[in-house]
Symmetry: C2
């Protein structure tokens, strides 16, 4: 560590000790969690460099940020191989829900049922395990969104989204044919084998500009985040609508924002009516996450539900990043108070498994149409069950709503003090799913690490907070203080 870094580190440690002291009244969820970050090296530290070089012999390490020492990480703190202890508000790209080395999860991971799921993995469609109904009922289905009683499990968010698209296409063609009992024609069967219409029809999914729905070929055709995600890959000719670009603070731009949302709804309707192939479903994130933390109002989503209903188009809500409590509701779309639920909701990340929930109407008319060898992973479904238990035990969804409000207020004060570094603060009332824009964003992220915070970006200039549901007020104090220091350092 250079002298300059060492000095910076000392003053930083002192200030964090103070922050910790201020909120000592809060009881920590993790008894053995560090009291504060501890930065011991520059980044990347010498051990990180060494380990990354070793890994680079067999693995593409160009995107490596931190080489984690996970057995040593606790709760909201990630520890790296250099012994740096960082408050982690990025949480494995929003996918660690209840802290590192959570004891409830550790117990679930060491049960005979888990060992069975790991070593006797069934082809669940043909040979389900006799505990599968119980695993679903006490886990993934226990938290099913209102109105969606069925689930099809998958392995990743991208996988889940593609399965939802397949369900949408089957549903549309079933309606075209005149119902579930009308059989395929010979022409359809022959042409499907050649990837040609009518068996392999030209049908579309509509998504939004800046959306991210995954990187497999179908999901990538609906992803509109960054060129680097899409370049050189064939894609389906599907439509994209503008996502409203809200101006902040919201209360100062109410009319303008309402107009932007209405324009977006109008564009969706126009595309549904005019696109050269039938639009079977609209795919939308409650908050565009990879695309830069772009929000829209509950009113926008209610209108989106109405316009899709009007044109017999399915509405699929991609809750891969927003789901499982982070917005202060278990599912972010609960914020919308929809009268008619979405037709499908997809999930992954914090669930540690994946899949889509769906209405009875979307069950395929024949078996083996939605099918693959494993249909997900029961081991990962058991982890999700333990996550749900932990969320219930600690009431983490309501907790996150409260902590989010606390954090938002502190960030609002920070933004007032440093308006050049904290712009367009957003996510009020959305739990800890908070973001702001920072013109020197990439430097901000790097600098935050030297100040003890692991934090991520999204879109072109957003800093996005994706802490775990176990983030508490005293962590927020540490976080905000470090962000202030980061702004000062820039």
């Amino acid at each position: 560590m250079s002298v300059r870094t060492a000095l910076a580190f000392r003053s930083f440690t002192r200030s964090f000790t103070m922050a910790g002291a201020r909120s000592a009244s809060t009881k920590a969820f993790f008894a053995n969690e560090p009291a504060q970050p501890a930065v011991k090296s520059q980044f990347p530290g010498p051990e990180t460099v060494k380990a990354t070089q070793e890994l680079a012999k067999v693995w593409d390490t160009r995107a490596v940020n931190i080489m984690g020492d996970y057995p040593k990480s606790v709760g909201n703190y990630i520890v790296d191989v250099d012994g740096n202890t960082l408050l982690d508000v990025y949480a494995q790209i929003a996918s660690i829900p209840v802290g590192y080395n959570n004891e409830t999860l550790a117990k679930a991971a060491a049960t005979p049922q888990m060992v069975n799921a790991l070593i006797n993995r069934p082809a669940t469609g043909n040979f389900p395990s006799n505990d599968w109904a119980e695993i679903l009922a006490t886990g993934v289905l226990k938290v099913a969104p209102k109105g969606l009683n069925n689930v099809f499990t998958a392995l990743s968010g991208s996988d889940a989204n593609e399965l939802a698209y397949k369900a949408a296409f089957m549903y549309r063609r079933m309606q075209d044919r005149g119902g579930p009992d009308v059989d395929f024609t010979q022409e359809e069967m022959d042409s499907a084998m050649k990837n040609q219409t009518p068996g392999a029809p030209q049908l579309a999914i509509l998504s939004f500009k800046s959306a991210f729905h995954g990187r497999l070929f179908g999901s990538l055709s609906t992803t509109r985040s960054k060129p680097i995600h899409k370049l050189d890959f064939p894609a389906f000719d599907w439509p994209q609508a503008s996502f409203p670009q809200l101006k902040y603070p919201l209360d100062q731009h109410a009319a303008e924002n309402a107009a932007a949302e209405q324009a977006s709804i109008d564009e969706v309707e126009q595309l549904i009516k005019s696109w050269h192939s039938p639009v079977c479903a609209v795919m939308v994130e409650p908050i565009q996450s990879e695309g830069g933390d772009n929000h829209a109002s509950a009113d926008f989503f209610r209108k989106l539900r109405a316009v899709t209903k009007k044109h017999n188009v399915l509405l699929i809500v991609d809750e891969v990043q927003t789901g499982i409590g982070a917005t202060g509701k278990f599912w972010a779309h609960e914020h919308w108070d929809l009268q008619d639920p979405p037709d499908m909701v997809t999930f992954s990340k914090k669930a540690q498994t994946a899949g889509y929930y769906y209405t009875d109407a979307l069950r395929p008319n024949k078996p083996y149409r939605q099918f693959n060898t494993w249909l997900g992973d029961p081991a990962r479904c058991l982890v999700f069950r333990a996550i749900i238990e932990e969320i219930e035990r600690l009431d983490l969804v309501n907790h996150t709503a409260r902590v989010g409000d606390y954090l938002y207020a502190k960030l609002e004060a920070l933004a007032a003090k440093y308006p050049e570094h904290f712009q367009n603060l957003r996510g009020k009332g959305q739990g800890t799913f908070i973001a702001f824009d920072s013109p020197k964003r990439d430097q901000f992220l790097v600098k935050a690490k030297t100040n003890g915070i692991n934090i991520g970006g999204s879109g072109a200039s957003a800093v996005r907070l994706r802490p775990m549901l176990t983030l508490q007020e005293h962590h927020c104090d540490i976080l905000v203080e470090a962000l202030e220091k980061t702004a000062k350092d820039l």
Copy 2:
């Protein structure tokens, strides 16, 4: 159990006891494995019906075949909820490699390293775990096919295949541009975001008729197995070549078969030269598995390698079903003795994880082009490592080559005795990856179960054997006797 079934069952048990006695000299891999099948109910049994009805409340059960009681299943025997004990030569659609409740796997599943992988799942591209290099080196990379030193891990065979296609497309476009250092144009970046050329180019993967490569949108565009897999889903306009349809016995149709293979190679070359979009890769299974167990000679594959090399087209070998020892080689393509290795090999199923192996040339020119949150699952990679250990400990690949020869000879004798039920016996010298056609195939599969055997089909009329690598000679005796009984029963 009806009286008739009971009588049938008694005579069946007796005959199996005899079969067991004949090969008592073989030492069983599993000390606690049943000596023989035990059929206690008709199919589906009462407990299976009850459990399936329960599961049907929340899950599509129309494809359910057996409701497994996996904690009670041992080695090569699957036990269902009615207590039926079946010799399992289908093995969860070819995906259980070393037996149910294998002790080596159980030990690996109960380690602190496994618990860590399950509860602290990293976003491996950005925040790899410090044991990731070791997990790869001692596991998935230890069995890397010759010439392919890199791996990109994935979650399923379909996922792995799509990632390989993405690698192929990036490689082709990099060459078109003039090398890895030539940057994307603004036009490419803008058009990619609209799913349009040139950024989202019209490029193709060539696959074979009857091929199965998965069910996501890109992989499904190369799958040509059955209409039910493809109907109603948009697909890319990609070419398919005829796969040689060999006639059996091979030694009586040598010239004819060689001509069929040459015709197929010619068709591949013609399609590469004439298809309306550039063919970037040819995708092929060493043995078409879901498509009906269609084999081709090593000579065919050497010619395929030559014709792809000649036209600068990549060769991807889909070893999702053939890999991990079942053909008597660790990778089925080792049977071909290629001078130039394939450019990529994909794997899953018996590996219990997934991914593609690739040459150095296929590493993308920039980070984040081949990327997603998890990049596979370290927990499943640890299971694969234990599988590899078990394969090495028991020398299961060579074992499977030997047992396959033993089994093939017995089946050959059976086919001579019952030519109407055992047609086109194939897989000689391919370990236990053996199949035959049976005109009453679907009845055959059902009846085999009442005779104590869980066995699967593929294609229109094939009965395919997909036993575990732990299948031994005494199991083969039991199997062949039950198959004979099944033929007699039909």
